[in-house]
Structure formats: C-alpha cells, structure tokens
C-alpha cells in the first residue's frame, strides 16, 4: 500500500528536502524564516553557546551563478561594519555541497513594512528614520554603499533597535566604477542612475528619501517632483522644511541631492532642532518664526516683564 501524505506533510517535505547540511554539530537548523533572491535565512540553535542564531545560506549552489560570491561579500561587509544598526556576523563557512553560509545574531522584531503602521506622528517616524540614516552614514564613511534600501530591509527589534539588513548587493565605493552596468536595487527605491548601473553614495541618499517618503505617506514616491510634493502634502502635510529635505533626497540629478547620508543626517538634525536647513531657503516670515520658536522662552519672559511694567505704570 502506498504511503498517504497530507498537504501539511507534502509542504513540510518540500521545505526540509533542501535544508542545509551544516558541517559539524554546533548549529542545528530549526526552521526557515525568510527567503530572498540570494539566500534563505534559518533559525538555528548554537549548541556550543546555547543560544538561537540566524543562518543565511546561498540559494543556488550551481557553479557560476555568482550567488555564493555575493553571500561571501555580504558576510565580509557585515563583519567590516561594526555598528549597532548592523547585524553582527558570528561565523561563516561552506556546506558539504559547496554553498556558502554565514551565522549572525538572531534579531527578534519586525520589518519596517509592519512596524511603520504603529508609528504615530512625525517625531516617532523621524526617530526611526534617523537611526537608519546614521547606519548608512557609518557605512558611507567606511566606504560602503548599500544599494538596496527599502522597508523590508529595515528591521525594528523588540528593544527599539533599528537594523539595516540585506547587504548582499552592497559595494565598496572604490568599486563603483567596476559595479557599473550591474543593475541591482528595487524599483521605486532606486534612483535613475542606479537603474543604469551607476550607483554611488547619493544613490543611497535617494533610497533614504524614498524610504522617508514611504514612512510619511505609505506610498512610493512618484518620479516627478511636483507629483511627489502633492502626494506628500495630501497624505502627511509635513512642514515645508521637512518636505524640502525629502524632495532634495529624491532629486533626479545626483548632484542636487545630499552628497552622502551624513549630510542628510546633519540637515535632519538641524530640522529637529528648529534650525534653518540646507534643503530649504526660508522666507523672512519663516526666519522670524524659527527665531521665535528658538528663543520663545526668552521672548515670553521679556514680554511678560514688559507687560508687568506697563501694568505697574498704569496702576500708578
């Protein structure tokens, strides 16, 4: 009699049939948690240190696919970038069948796609976004561009930590010339020049702008500046200075954007401190408004003092 298999067992077999056979007995695969174009991520138990870890394994073991090399490169980039916003790598190696894998910290949390729905208000959104910008600024400083920033590549952990994931297509800035003609990234978050295979650090700035646009509006930025402004104003009604920061990031000409993530982070910090921003030339009225906001305590005290003096003079 032939064995009968339920749908659950058939689905289970399809998954476990390609589970990686890790060398040694230190790591024990428990379940897959995500699959991308380059690799599959599994939750595994590190039996030596008795903790759960995440293991990313290259999908296609076929020689010449380039995926193993990309996974190796991702592990090296992660190992090079020690930052609270980047998942640390613990170990790396090769499976018996030749595929690359690396072991990293298991982050408990959710991607920005899910998390943003619970972020209420501009301050909360900018709080998370600033952490992403700081991480990318750190990478730029270390000579690395991410090239595939998008909501699903940002994770918010259960302690509020913000992590930038998936550095599989990241490139060293000095390799930019060599990277030309390689078209990587995600439509909507990818600037025009990256679609032509010419990514630079300003391409990450474009993606950051698209990410902030998405966080504020829950929509992808339209290609035309006027359309983007219209959607932004209709959905979020941000102050003009914040809208200007987003639009400066999204400029189609790389030279019109911030030169790197650090410049964007600095302008964003100025915005949050109520100072003039590089992205927007204030009118006289706006400058007075900003000046008032900045010195409002002093102005109110002086005003109160003057009112009291006037009242005393009147009573006498």
């Amino acid at each position: 009699m032939t064995t009968w298999l339920s749908n659950t067992v058939v689905d289970h077999l399809r998954v476990v049939a390609t589970w990686p056979e890790l060398p040694g007995d230190r790591y024990v695969i428990e379940r897959p948690i995500g699959r991308g174009g380059m690799g599959t991520v599994y939750v595994a138990r590190d039996t030596l240190l008795e903790r759960d870890v995440a293991i990313k394994v290259s999908n296609a073991p076929v020689a010449g696919s380039g995926l193993d090399e990309r996974l190796r490169q991702e592990a090296q980039v992660l190992a090079r970038l020690e930052h609270p916003g980047i998942v640390p790598v613990h170990d790396a190696g090769q499976l018996a069948d030749g595929r690359m894998f690396y072991v990293m910290k298991l982050v408990h949390g959710e991607t920005l796609s899910a998390h943003t729905k619970r972020l209420l208000g501009e301050a909360a959104i900018l709080g998370v976004f600033e952490r992403v910008t700081e991480t990318i600024a750190f990478a730029h400083e270390a000579g690395v561009i991410h090239r595939d920033l998008k909501p699903s590549n940002v994770m918010v952990g259960r302690f509020g930590e913000v992590l930038v994931l998936d550095w599989g297509v990241a490139k060293a800035i000095e390799e930019e010339a060599a990277a030309s003609a390689t078209r990587v990234g995600t439509p909507g978050f990818m600037p025009p020049e990256q679609a032509r295979g010419e990514a630079t650090s300003t391409s990450d700035v474009f993606a950051l702008g698209a990410l902030l646009f998405w966080m504020l509006t829950d929509a992808m930025p339209p290609p035309a500046r006027d359309d983007a402004l219209r959607v932004l104003n209709a959905a979020a009604r941000p102050p003009r200075r914040l809208a200007a920061i987003v639009l400066k990031c999204l400029a189609s000409e790389p030279s019109d954007r911030y030169s790197n993530a650090a410049a964007l982070a600095a302008d964003l910090a100025r915005y949050r401190a109520g100072q003039p921003v590089a992205a927007h030339r204030e009118t006289t009225l706006e400058r007075i408004g900003l000046w008032f906001i900045k010195y409002r305590t002093f102005i109110l005290l002086v005003a109160a003092y003057l009112v009291m003096r006037a009242m005393f003079a009147f009573v006498r």
Binding site: W4, V10, L13, R14, V16, V28, T47, P61, A63
Partner: protein
Amino acid sequence: MSTFAYACRVIPFPATRRSVLERIQSDDREVRRAAFGDLAEGYWRPSYHYLRLHWRLPAASAEDMVQAFFTAAFEKQYVERYDPAKARFRTFLRTCLDRFVQNYQKAERAEKRGGGQVHLPLDFPGAERELAAIAVQDRHDLDRFFHDETVRDLFARTIDAMRRAYDAEGKLIVFEVFERHDLRPSPDLTYATLAREFDLTTAQVTNYLHAARRRFREQALVNLRALVGTDEEFRDEARELFGLEIS
C-alpha cells in the same frame, strides 16, 4: 548516460530516466513499454482522484477509465503528439484524459469496458480511501489540483522506495528517524526528544535526518525526471518543487 549537476555535485543519471518524450519516441518497443510503465505509475493515482472528484465518476467507472486511458495512450500513441511549446506535459496529459472521458461517454461504449484490455496492477481501493483526505478547496483549480496530486504521489512513491532501500541496506533506523520527524511533523518534537526515543545522540539524529532528506531529494528528482516531457520542463518543475536550480 546523461548527468545533471545539483548542489555542485554531478549525480549520475540512469539512462532509463531520459525524458518521457525521448523514451516514448524510441524505436525500441520495450523502451516505449517501460516509459509507459513509468508514466502510468506516476500518473494513475492523480488521474483516478481527478476522475472521481472532477468528473464525479463512480469508483468502478473511474477504475475502468484509468485502465482504458493508459492502455489507449500506449496503443494509440497519444503521448507522441505532445508539443512542449504548447503546455507542460502534466497539463497535456490531463487534457488528453478530459478528451478521453468525453469521447468515451459520447460513444457509450461502457459495455466494452475491460474487454480484451491489458489490466495494470493498480491499488484502486487504496486510492479510493485517500479521496476523503483531499481538501475540498484543492478541487477548484483543475490544473493545480492535478499538479498537487502528482506531487503527492511522487513524494509517496519516493518515500516507499526509500523505506525499501533502507530496509535492504539494514539501515531502517535512518528511515524511522526521518519518518518520525518529517512525515509526522510536530512543532513540539525536538532533536533531543527524538534522540531519547531512538536511543541515539542528537548528532546522530541530525546526521540521519540529513542523509534521509538528501536521499529523498535526489530520488524525488529522479522520479520527477520520468514524469516530465523535456529537460526544460524538468528544470522548471524542480525549481517550483524545491526552489533548486538544475544546470
């Protein structure tokens, strides 16, 4: 002997496992007969379930129809007409079955059923028992239903072959660990529990599971190769089934 590369290793591929189309077009009648044997083995059960659930044929009629269809497919050379550019082999075979049933019913030749036909030794009572377990929602998309039933049967035959092979090799314990962990999956079952149950170490459990899963994957691919029309279709099916790229 043809070969295919999987997981950076080149796995020897038996000559008898050339594509269905190649073998059925062979001049050697025995090769053709063997190809039809594989075809019938791989598709009779999904065909039976399909006839019972989609065509709503009574059990006896469905049994006769399956026998008649595969006999006619061999004698009247249906499969030789398959054009890989038009559809996958599985879809082509299902369409042939649909037409066969329509013609059969139109001609009202039911009284001739079985007369002079060669009967294949098929386990229809077993297939009938399985009907109750097929979820109702699986029955709406016909192509999907036929595909799912083909995969179910492919896996089931692969597992039966594994059990026999491990038994013959005196390594039934490997199969039993695999059976306990992967054929009766439970979220509460840990490797440590399994090790205690079978009086093994945890490392042995994971090694046995790796070995059995590798064998399952390789045997399933060999069986799959015998059910598809072309190499390209084999690559597509392997990608859909396991997410594997076959070079």
